[in-house]
């Protein structure tokens, strides 16, 4: 469904163009989850944002490659076409839920905006839209969703805010959900709840998920395939279990060795030699 071929992106600065992605290739099938894992600055987020051309140009420069989504190259489609894809076909969830919601609107009006934009099948009446919003808030595990409709973002906890963000992203019924470190800002118990919810909803709705993370530990059980990124390149791409069992690239080996395991002998965590 999504195929990225040899994507090259750089950022222009006074001293010329600094390359950020040196030919990234990835593929993702309908209904499956692909995790992109890598350290800060490895190009994970740039890749994610590049998919719907969200990088501001300038400074970003698309230097080459193709992003094929359902057969069309998103780097070539018109802006109007792209707006329909954004949100409607490809939805995003970001890391920081507290700043991702507009502080001056209730959660109802923010989710309603999404539904009005991308769900022509939902009737325009308040009751119908409310019912749809309540459905999604309920789906992401918010208790008594009808009572929370008119809450403002500051009245919700971080975990609740992230659930609202997920509800908002899902309410457009996207084919692909890109989750850019969706749980990094949350504490560990909430993190597990949110990730489990995300997995359940994915199976229920049959959408594809592109999960971006720097935390290898959350990937098993969540993503069937994984792509390991390092310094703007995909160094390893394949089945999660296989890569965990038998990593090929020295960076992947080091990354996997870093995952703390329950019952391990106490030892220093391994560090990774790298230059960014």
């Amino acid at each position: 469904m999504l195929e990225i071929k040899d994507l090259k992106i750089g950022f222009s600065s006074e001293s010329g163009i600094t390359p950020a992605l040196h030919g990234v290739s990835l593929s993702l099938e309908r209904g499956e989850t692909l995790a992109i894992v890598g350290e800060s600055g490895s190009g994970k987020s740039v890749t994610a944002l590049a998919i719907t051309r969200l990088l501001p140009t300038p400074p970003a420069v698309y230097q080459g490659g193709e992003i094929l989504f359902e057969g069309r190259d998103l780097l070539k489609v018109s802006d109007a076409e792209l707006r329909r894809v954004r949100g409607g076909k490809i939805a995003y969830i970001f890391q920081e839920p507290s700043t991702s919601l507009n502080p001056v609107y209730s959660i109802r009006s923010q989710i309603a905006e999404m539904i009005e934009l991308h769900r022509p099948d939902v009737p325009k009446s308040t009751a119908d839209i409310d019912a749809e919003i309540i459905h999604w808030l309920d789906a992401v595990g918010i208790n008594e969703p009808a009572r929370r409709l008119h809450d403002y973002p500051h009245q919700l906890s971080g975990g609740m805010q992230q659930r609202v963000m997920i509800a908002m992203a899902l309410s457009a019924r996207p084919d692909l959900l890109i989750a850019d470190e969706p749980t990094t800002a949350l504490d560990v118990t909430i993190q597990a709840q949110i990730l489990n919810k995300l997995r359940d909803l994915q199976q229920e709705l049959g959408m594809a998920v592109l999960l971006i993370t720097h935390n290898f530990a959350i990937i098993p059980g969540l993503a069937k395939n994984v792509a390991v990124m390092y310094r703007g390149k995909v160094v390893e791409h394949g089945n999660t279990e296989q890569i965990l069992r038998d990593p090929q690239h020295p960076y992947t080996k080091a990354l996997i060795a870093c995952i703390p395991r329950l019952g391990d002998k106490r030892r220093r965590l391994q560090t990774i030699e790298s230059i960014i």
Binding site: T52, L54, P58, L82, R83, R84, V85, R86, G87, G88, A91, Y92, F94, E96, T99, S100, L101, N102, P103, V104, Y105, E113, M114, L117, H118, N143, E144, R147, R148, H150, D151, Y152, Q155, S157, M165, M168, A172, T189, Q193
Partner: protein, 299 residues
């Protein structure tokens, strides 16, 4: 998870107060704000009442343009509470009519300058790049002109009618608003929720007006309120120089201008309109300040 989940009922005590309502509540909690609002309301009601009476063909206490040379330059008395001028016209009646002019000028000039300033600032701040450069360099160029002389020149060319004056004041005073709005937009457009709106496939103009502008509305509203006394003072200055709204229509500025020859013998001619300008401007400034304080989330 069910054992750990906090029921929403536990959070039920949190009130559902909109950000606007919070600002208003904090604004009203400030005694200075209340006094300013009362003064502004007093001016607004007298101005409105006088305009309404005038439209119905009535005058209170007298016709502001009725001359009576037998009664010229009378000091304040029971017949003429604020005295009479050199043509025997009642000063109170003229000041009431002047209040209408001052408030009209203040409100409309600010509306004009706000309209231009917000649009220019929003476009410059949101789109950035070359658009921003062109717009903001034009603003810089406009700021280089001494505003008051620009207004004088424009009035001299176009003629000193009320509508001309209001529009001209508005047209030369939007630069500060544009800079402020641009600054707000530069900050807010980088926030995650604006990114989210773009990610949702929202159109640029909807992002500008629906997502960014409401978040910048508090400082914009404050500059608007602070712009009103500036416009009132500018109009008074123009009237004093004879470039304002033309006699016989009374304005606070031209009452003072007419009286400058009689300054030594008729103190009431200059004191009362001067005081009205001072109090009205002060009330707007203080209200604007209180609003800024109320909308500052850090305090």
């Amino acid at each position: 998870m069910s054992t750990l989940a906090i029921t929403p009922g536990a959070l039920g005590a949190v009130t559902q107060e909109t950000p606007g309502a919070r600002i208003l509540r904090r604004f009203w909690g400030n005694p200075i704000a209340r006094i300013s609002v009362v003064i502004i309301l007093f001016f607004a009601l007298t101005a409105g009442g006088t305009a309404l009476l005038g439209a119905l063909g009535h005058h209170w206490p007298y016709d502001p343009n009725l001359t009576n040379l037998d009664q010229k330059l009378l000091p304040p008395s029971l017949q003429h509470w604020l005295g009479t001028d050199n043509l025997g016209r009642d000063v109170l009646s003229r000041m009431l009519n002047g209040a209408t002019i001052s408030l009209t000028v203040g409100l409309i000039a600010v509306a004009v300058s706000l309209g231009i300033g917000v649009i220019v600032g929003a476009i410059a701040g949101y789109f950035g790049g070359l658009t921003d450069q062109i717009l903001m360099r034009s603003v810089d160029a406009l700021i280089c002109f001494p505003t008051f002389f620009l207004i004088l020149t424009a009035v001299a060319i176009l003629g000193p009618s009320l509508i001309n004056i209001v529009v001209i004041i508005g047209l030369v005073s939007w630069t500060g608003t544009a800079r402020l709005v641009r600054g707000e937009f530069l900050t807010i457009r980088e926030t995650e929720f604006v990114k989210s709106a773009r990610v949702l496939g929202q159109k640029d103009w909807k992002i500008i007006f629906r997502h960014i502008l409401p978040n910048a509305s508090a400082p914009i509203f404050v500059t608007a309120v602070l712009g009103i006394p500036d416009a009132i003072l500018t109009e008074a200055g123009l009237s004093f120089l004879g470039f304002g709204v033309q006699p016989p229509q009374a304005t606070w500025g031209n009452i003072i201008a007419d009286s400058k020859t009689y300054l030594l013998e008729a103190w009431w001619l200059i004191l009362f309109p001067g005081f009205a300008i001072f109090i009205a401007s002060l009330a707007f400034y203080l209200a604007g300040d209180a609003l800024r304080e109320a909308s500052n989330s850090r305090s």
